[in-house]
């Protein structure tokens, strides 16, 4: 555990109370005591050991830490953990079932939608939010929807192909 988490897990000085929150993470209610300044990204990574959520820039730019809160993509480095109290959070760990990859994960595999993989969890969750609202997006719509997620390896071409692949598979499955 990092020194940062030790520091913020220490009962804080004077009159700043720790808050008890219950967050539904990937379908399971998790109850924790947190200091109000704890960021959602750190609650997930350090409090719950869900390290699939990556912190890239920590400045609301890169989108690597994107998770779904109540179904909508959120940069988890830019939301307080206490704000997730009583809400549903989905991380990359919640995409696959024990036996099967999510079609979006399969698409990234089939179309070689990642190289180093650092941006991939955030990309996939933004893609999931897109496909829930728009099951048949154009290439332009995919590029637009993913424009808050930065990738420094792929040039985005195969990421777009991966999302198109997933969209087609998900449409076929729902028919």
């Amino acid at each position: 555990m990092s020194s940062l988490f030790e520091e913020i897990a220490t009962p804080p000085a004077d009159n700043i109370p720790v808050r008890r929150i219950t967050v539904n993470v990937n379908g399971t209610d998790r109850t924790l005591d947190v200091e109000p300044r704890l960021l959602l990204a750190d609650l997930l990574r350090q409090g719950l050991d869900l390290t699939g959520t990556h912190k890239g820039c920590d400045t609301t730019n890169c989108g690597a830490c994107t998770v779904l809160v109540a179904g909508r993509p959120v940069k988890s480095c830019t939301m307080l953990a206490v704000q997730a109290d009583g809400r549903e959070v989905q991380t990359v760990e919640g995409l696959a079932t024990p036996s099967e990859l999510h079609p979006i994960q399969e698409g990234f595999k089939q179309e070689h939608g990642l190289q180093c993989g650092f941006c991939t969890p955030g990309m996939m969750l933004s893609a999931k939010a897109l496909l829930e609202r728009n099951p048949n997006p154009t290439e332009d719509e995919i590029r637009w929807a993913l424009s808050g997620n930065l990738c420094r390896c792929t040039g985005y071409q195969n990421i777009v192909k991966a999302v198109l692949w997933a969209a087609e598979k998900m449409r076929a499955e729902s028919n």
């Binding site: 808050r19 200091e35 300044r37 960021l39 609301t60 993509p73 933004s126 424009s147």
Partner: protein, 289 residues
């Protein structure tokens, strides 16, 4: 960096939120979308004692047109609510054009219209839009509600006219005389970057005649630039290329851009002129589909 320590409350009513602000005596801060405040907390540009999270106050996430044609935007209406609104697309072209250009798609799921106006970032899209539209804010404090005109609201970079114990609960855009027309253009190097220059144009028109005109600029000065006076030269006239040229030049002269890595001062002024022209020319009646 990590935010400094603060107390956190998430009241269920506006009155309770106002009471917390009042008790904070200037060291309490409202948290709405948090897409500017949380980064500022992390950079420790902001270090309030008390955060008052208004996200659990019901009934603030609306935007609606009243029967008189005025548009009302609640304090928890997110950028993406406006971006995806069929009513906005149909009836309020300046906001419809700006909404997809605010920050990036992920930030737009959290960030709020009213919060962005209050943040008064010189780069902010919504403060410029509100000035061009001649809007006002409804604010609530311990003694009740009052309204503040946008022309009096932005005092400087990150400075607004709210008292420490007041919350902006609603933005109001008055009903257009005639038909609401206009647009928003922003030049940015990449999605989510600070704008090189942004232009908001809002017109009320009857056919090709301009009944009201507002123009405001972002990213080209130490604060949001109010060019409504320059825009008012259009009022009472038909939109023609020659009057558009005159107004575009006057608005560009009002900009106060600084040379930086996004471009020279002259270049940014040229962008302002081009964007004003581009938006206005598209409103000439015979060009409107």
């Amino acid at each position: 960096m990590y935010p400094s320590r603060f107390k956190y409350e998430s009241p269920k009513t506006i009155e309770a939120a106002v009471a917390l602000l009042d008790a904070g005596k200037g060291d309490a801060k409202i948290l709405a979308g948090g897409q500017s405040l949380v980064p500022m907390l992390k950079l420790r540009f902001a270090f309030p004692d008390q955060i008052v999270d208004i996200n659990n106050i019901p009934g603030l996430d609306y935007h609606r047109f009243d029967a008189d044609g005025s548009l009302h935007i609640g304090a928890l209406c997110r950028h993406e609510d406006l971006e995806h609104s069929a009513e906005i697309a149909e009836r309020q072209p300046t906001i419809a054009a700006a909404a997809p250009l605010v920050a990036d798609p992920i930030v737009r799921t959290r960030g709020t219209f009213v919060g962005s106006v209050c943040h008064a970032d010189p780069q902010g899209d919504w403060a410029a839009t509100m000035i061009a539209l001649g809007g006002h804010l409804v604010v609530q404090g311990p003694k009740g509600k009052r309204t503040i005109d946008m022309k009096d609201f932005v005092l400087g970079p990150y400075a607004n006219a709210l008292n420490y114990n007041e919350i902006a609960i609603e933005a109001v855009i008055p009903a257009p005389k005639g038909v609401a027309r206009g647009g928003y253009l922003k030049l940015e190097r990449r999605v989510g970057d600070f704008a090189t220059a942004s232009v908001a144009v809002a017109l009320d028109m009857d056919g090709n005649r301009v009944l009201r005109a507002g123009i405001a600029l972002a990213g080209v000065g130490g604060k949001t630039i109010d060019a409504n006076e320059e825009a008012s030269a259009l009022v009472g006239h038909d939109l023609t290329e020659s009057i558009i040229d005159t107004v575009a030049a006057a608005v560009a002269a009002k900009a106060e851009p600084r040379t930086d890595h996004r471009g020279s001062s002259d270049y940014k002024r040229q962008i302002v002129k081009t964007f004003v022209k581009r938006i206005l020319v598209a409103q000439i009646a015979e060009k409107v589909a």
